[in-house]
Symmetry: C3
Subunit: 259 residues, 3 copies
């Protein structure tokens, strides 16, 4: 039986930090378990909890049932912020209570949450700066070891959990004003408009007051052309074929005009 | 039994795209199979099909029999380009029909090719921009599930396949004029001259008309010195010890003079 | 049974080199073995043996017993430098004899060392520039295959091994003058002062003659503030919260003043 551990951090891939977290998880296993580590990314900008929350949201549904997600984007490491485990019907999430699971809570309202009891997991000598290695990795291993959860976790009221806001498009007299939720590495701007919000209606997309063609995929755009398209998560994206849209569009005003 | 899936994309490692493809492959498995994902690279320059073809060519022979290669460098995603599966004696290749397998065809003339029947693989809602997740990942999973190939694949005539040209060195009156096939991240210029073409003959290497010493390995060069050597694939490389040759040699003229 | 292979190289992740090393290890296996490759990092600056030695030192203890570490940072590839296998009580290390294992020797004085007999491992045609693929990968596979070590290894006297110096803090009249051992990707400066050297004593930290507050973790620092803290390995770090300390501190003079 193989267990899938999916990792999302801001540790980068220059140093040894990610490898050490994986090593520590394996080191704490009490019996032979095949673990398949799947990296979502380790290149979240340092301490960008919001981007991590979106990256997780764009990913988690595509993993098999039973996947454990370990998310370490943790500006508050070593302070009093809680370390938590969140359980949904299909998945388990482990990470800091800083809002990184906000969209998981929203989409899986029947979730349950637990606090990791630090005194039960941290083994001296432990570090105040590397909870990935000393707190979260052992907690993941305890889950894999099927240690009874009450031995290292305690239930947490949902209302106490930190949540970040991901606002929907703002209604205007003529349509919607959009926000950019996520800029991917190709410079594509992923907005907060889901295609379900404009299903069956006729509309056009304005960027900085100018209409931009809505195409089916990048392959249909001319090189250098500014385009709009519904991306892989159903969200409207603004892109430039073979170029970074974000460089041209520093603070773009993106509008939907219903027709 | 562990299955090896080797991945080569231009998705980069900043976003979640690679992780999602792997997650989706695992999610579509119908029975427990150990999958060992081996990344060749995800940093092919965006849409550089030629570099991907070479990267695959430099790699595939070193993998164990039975490896499935998933190559997604796909400028035509969402357009009418075909998605294909290529079978050679030892390996299976999955990716777009855009020439990325050109060198596989050349070196394995007994290959067979199949088109992925999109209607059998794409499950709604699917994306026009992320076939890695919605088309190629499930196709790989179907192969792992040992689904009969005729249920999602149809034979494709070899002549219909797109092929890229990788020209051999050009014969000159005094020897050969070489092309640079691949610039690696250290700035080494990998040319199209294989050592088998000059076996048993005496020759010298000219770069921009000046002779460059041919050494056995980087360790024999002086720091900063321009050198030529036969690299790990038997191809002549132009390099600078501890420096990027490509910065100094923007459009180098590289010649072999037979003696 | 899963075997853990942990990799640390300067190959980068742009090209195919790392994938090829992993593929080759798997290709040389004689029976089905589950191999779990854990990357420490592949972004050691080219040929920076000292940084690789520290990266390994900061990592290896967190891996499970039986882990094989393959370290390829190898400026001397293709020259006469030896390829070695080092055995400690819990781990096996494979790599070049260039000092990259210096700190392993120091912390595990009961280690034993072996030279890889090149003629027994290199199979023609092999490359002089890519021993990762042609020498080290097969050697790792032979270990996994449980080939008797005397068939491809010969004992090496410990005194013959190359060692790098990692000096301790320099004693001054008022305390210690520190050196920077490692700059991580966030620009944190990791010094050579371990907290055990100042246990129970009162001291202050000076950077370029100015006192810097000693905090418990990054979370306690103000944004942009220069701080000192004991990092995850117990070593004193100089850091700027959410900023790269190394840019501000090109050649910092770091002192400990005992009080």
């Amino acid at each position: 039986m193989t267990k899938i551990i999916s990792l999302l951090t801001d540790f980068g891939v220059e140093d040894h930090y990610v490898g050490v977290v994986k090593g520590r998880i394996l080191k704490e296993l009490e019996k032979p378990i095949n673990v398949n580590f799947i990296d979502i990314t380790h290149n979240i900008p340092p301490q960008d909890v919001k981007k991590a929350a979106l990256s997780l949201y764009f990913s988690y549904r595509y993993f098999p049932e039973g996947t454990i997600f370990l998310i370490i984007v943790d500006p508050g490491v070593g302070t009093e912020r809680k370390a938590i485990v969140v359980k949904t019907k299909n998945f388990t999430f482990v990470g800091p209570d800083n809002g990184v699971f906000s969209l998981i809570y929203k989409k899986n309202p029947d979730f349950t949450a637990f606090e990791i009891i630090k005194e039960k997991v941290l083994k001296p000598p432990y570090s105040s700066t590397f909870h990935g290695r000393d707190l979260f990795a052992p907690a993941v291993a305890y889950i894999l070891n099927e240690m009874p959860w009450e031995e290292f976790l305690k239930p947490l009221p949902k209302e106490s959990l930190k949540r970040l806001k991901f606002p929907y498009p703002e209604k205007t007299s003529k349509g919607y004003r959009l926000s950019v939720w996520y800029v991917d590495q190709f410079g594509n701007l992923i907005t907060n408009l889901h295609k379900d919000m404009v299903v069956g209606v006729s509309f056009k997309v304005l960027v900085n007051k100018k209409e931009v063609p809505l195409v089916k995929s990048y392959g249909y755009a001319k090189k250098g052309e500014l385009i709009a398209l519904f991306g892989s998560e159903g969200l409207l994206e603004i892109a430039i074929r073979e170029g970074p849209a974000f460089e041209i569009l520093l603070n773009p005003e993106i509008e939907i005009i219903l027709e």
